[in-house]
């Protein structure tokens, strides 16, 4: 951009600085970007985080281990189950508690249903960012059924507080299992319908193919995780590579970006990975439902939970990638320190690099395709 003008005219041009957010329809919560544009072309987009900071990590030092589980729900309220699980895994490993086998199955079923719900929000709002309103409502409709199922499983629709240290809060009843089965039977064709409506749309593909390409090297150096990393063609999934729970016994594919319509690692690849992950999650839930053993859903855990002094880092594969809880215990009832590592926070950092030279509309597509989620960024 040429800021100095020929002296003869006296006219000159300068970049326009726009504040995208914190209240903006497509920043998915309270995100803010300070965008410098030359007309429609962005020269710089600086992410500004911290609008949704709730000190969840600090709260962890002030409440007991059991009491902290509901707070972890709020770390990423679109995928509350995973934060539950990551914290409980850390606490269990600190105290050496064995989770009951049925409890593990309940956890995986609940988590995978939650993953579908979270990805539905992601792909639905992504469609809305691109301007297609109908797929968003269709995705929310399906998510509503999952919310109903979740309500049946644990009594809550959004912040579940379902996974407890040693197992799960409530067993999944046989009737609920049938309903989950029925939902899966209904949902798998819906994904195809969704693809016919949105993913195969020419305008949609044109908007995303080759836009905001993340190379493998960039994905590593910016520490992208989850679908964003897999979209760049890296086969890395905590469930497969650092197994936890019963995932080693289950058969599932790890979908990666294949340059389906454009360049490897473009916005469409990241979107497409999410669509296929929903299908994989359906498979996982089906397997769990058929393999589910009988037995107690939760192990005997003392109410005054005092893990021995030590530290533990537990990671799970959340919908937004590798979610880790680092818990330090000093042997008391309260954690000495809790630290949460989330995928969205690192995904925010790459936006600055990718946004140079793209258009305003592409920035929205980029934010949507990275599936950054305000509560998870700020905790």
């Amino acid at each position: 951009m040429n800021d100095t003008a020929p002296a003869s005219t006296g006219f000159y041009t300068e970049d326009m600085t726009i504040s995208v957010g914190p209240q903006h329809p497509s920043t998915h919560g309270v995100l803010r970007f300070v965008v410098k544009t030359d007309g429609e072309v962005i020269s710089e987009a600086i992410p500004d985080v911290g609008y949704l900071h709730r000190s969840i990590e600090k709260i962890g030092e002030k409440v007991t281990y059991h009491g902290y589980v509901p707070y972890t729900d709020r770390a990423d309220y679109l995928a509350a189950m995973f934060a539950n699980q990551a914290f409980c895994l850390a606490a269990e490993r600190l105290a050496g508690i064995e989770v009951t086998r049925r409890g593990e199955f309940c956890r995986v079923i609940a988590c995978e249903l939650n993953r579908i719900a979270s990805h539905l929000i992601s792909v639905g709002t992504f469609g809305q960012d691109i301007g297609a309103m109908t797929p968003f409502v269709h995705a929310l409709r399906e998510r509503e059924t999952i919310n109903n199922l979740m309500e049946e499983i644990c009594g809550a629709r959004l912040t579940y507080n379902y996974i407890r240290i040693g197992g799960v809060g409530y067993d999944i009843l046989p009737e609920t299992c049938t309903r989950i089965e029925a939902f899966l039977h209904h949902f798998e064709p819906i994904v195809d319908e969704f693809n016919r409506l949105l993913s195969g749309n020419k305008i949609f593909i044109e908007r995303l193919a080759g836009v905001a390409v993340v190379s493998k090297e960039d994905a590593f150096s910016y520490n992208l995780v989850g679908p964003n990393l897999r979209g760049s063609g890296v086969k890395w999934d905590i469930r497969r590579d650092i197994p936890y729970s019963i995932y080693p016994e289950l058969e599932f594919e790890v979908p990666i970006g294949t340059a389906h319509v454009g360049v490897l690692g473009d916005s469409f690849d990241r979107y497409w990975v999410r669509i296929r992950e929903m299908q994989e999650s359906c498979k996982i839930v089906r397997q769990c439902l058929s393999m589910m053993p009988k037995g107690p859903a939760i192990a005997k855990v003392p109410r005054k939970f005092r893990p021995p002094a030590g530290e533990c880092y537990a990671r799970v594969e959340a919908p937004r990638g590798d979610m880790g809880f680092y818990v330090v215990s000093d042997g008391s009832e309260y954690p000495y320190r809790v630290r949460i590592r989330t995928g969205s926070y690192t995904a925010m950092s790459i936006i600055d690099k990718l946004s140079k030279g793209i258009m305003v509309a592409d920035l929205i597509a980029l934010i949507g395709s990275l599936d950054v989620d305000a509560p998870e960024i700020d905790r």
């Binding site: 329809p25 007309g39 301007g131 309103m133 269709h138 305008i203 044109e206 509309a361």
Partner: protein, 398 residues
């Protein structure tokens, strides 16, 4: 309407009053009647219908509280917006800011002067009908640009600039597509064009030759773009520009923009109907012979149904398609639509010099092709409806 006034003057109904005064009074009265009896309810009901149709396509219910099936929702919304505070931002250019919605509204309303609702139901049958429509719809871009600039908001400015570029560009393919019809009809008067066609589909200009068939779709696409409709709604793209050029507007001024947008949908349909689909032409049934009132009603209904069908298509397109990017929009216009409309124009001129018999055969083939496309489409729709599983969508608790 103009002819009617002339006749009254001839008969000496306004003796002693200068002709200009009569015309001025008649103009104001006509504008009032058209605005309050036709345009306002039409735009309002279209807004309600769009919300309902859209809701059904999205497995929602839509507004159904005010009046039967919510059909009076637009009145409730209008009253609500009238009662709202008339807010002008401190940093805005107050005069331009308040003027802009009316300029947009004017640009849309003036088109109703030449829309032929029936053989005798037209405000003024100007001999430059189409040219007039193209000219007054360009006023809209002035209003939008005014709104974008006067709001003193960066989103509004971006929206206004986008809109200016878009409308000015898309006027070219739209105008060229309409020129096909002008060549065939040999007139620019709206009634003249309708009279050059017949009531039967094979007499419509749409099936006159393959080129004009293509030109129709070029016109419809370009008109959607001119009306800021999805997939070309980039000036007010709410996921990118918050609300584009209407970001700072609220209350009644805000409503005027959307009034114009929804009313404009009907104008698009009406122009398409007039130029390509035979307008108000009805079959010469014996029942109409001595009954001019019935004939008038039949003509009005025919015209309205044909025009409103395209409003429905526009709603449908909006519910289905995502939005294109601003550079893709420009590329679509200048790289594809402008050259294509030139080709169509040349093709139509070629057909005008074609031997009569050969022309008839090709017209019939075009009609056959269109019918085949319609049949395939209907089969597809029936297939989709058969395969839909409403019980799965609508059961709240499976």
């Amino acid at each position: 309407m103009q002819a009617f006034i002339d006749q009254l003057i001839q008969e000496g109904a306004f003796a002693g009053v200068p002709r200009e005064v009569v015309y001025a009074i008649a103009m104001v009265l006509t504008a009032l009647i058209v605005l309050s009896v036709f345009v306002a309810p039409l735009a309002g009901v279209t807004s309600w219908l769009e919300r309902r149709v859209w809701a059904r396509m999205q497995s929602r219910i839509g507004p159904n509280r005010v009046g039967p099936q919510g059909v009076l929702q637009w009145l409730a919304d209008g009253i609500k917006n009238l009662l709202k505070e008339d807010l002008i931002p401190a940093a805005a250019d107050a005069k331009l800011f308040s003027l802009a919605p009316y300029v947009v509204f004017m640009g849309f309303l003036c088109t109703f002067v030449v829309i032929p609702f029936g053989a005798n139901l037209i405000v003024a049958d100007l001999n430059i009908g189409i040219l007039y429509i193209l000219a007054v719809t360009s006023l809209v871009v002035v209003g939008i640009l005014m709104a974008g600039w006067a709001s003193n908001n960066k989103w509004s400015l971006l929206g206004g600039m986008r809109s200016a570029a878009q409308i000015v560009s898309y006027e070219i393919p739209a105008g060229l597509a309409l020129l096909n019809v002008v060549f065939l009809a040999g007139t620019m008067s709206m009634q003249g064009i309708i009279k050059a066609q017949g009531w039967a589909p094979w007499d419509w200009f749409l099936f006159n030759n393959p080129f004009i068939f293509a030109a129709f779709f070029l016109y419809f696409t370009a008109a959607l773009a001119e009306g800021n409709r999805t997939p070309f709604d980039i000036p007010e793209a709410e996921s990118e520009l918050v609300a584009g050029y209407v970001t700072e507007y609220s209350g009644m001024r805000f409503l005027f923009f959307f009034f114009a947008e929804w009313g404009n949908l009907y104008v698009i349909g009406a122009v398409a109907t007039t130029l390509f689909l035979g307008g108000w032409q009805v079959p010469p049934l014996p029942i109409f012979d001595n009954n001019p009132l019935l004939l008038g009603i039949a003509q009005f209904v025919t015209f309205f149904v044909k025009a409103y069908m395209w409003v429905f298509v526009a709603m449908w397109v909006r519910a289905t398609l995502p939005r294109v990017r601003v550079d893709q929009l420009m590329a679509l216009c200048w790289k594809y639509m402008v050259p294509l409309s030139f080709i169509c124009l040349l093709g139509t001129i070629g057909f005008m010099f074609m031997p009569e018999n050969l022309h008839r055969v090709i017209s019939a083939a075009t009609l056959g092709f269109a019918v085949a496309v319609m049949v395939v489409f209907l089969v597809r729709v029936v297939f989709q409806i058969r395969n839909a599983k409403p019980e799965l969508y609508l059961k709240p608790h499976i």
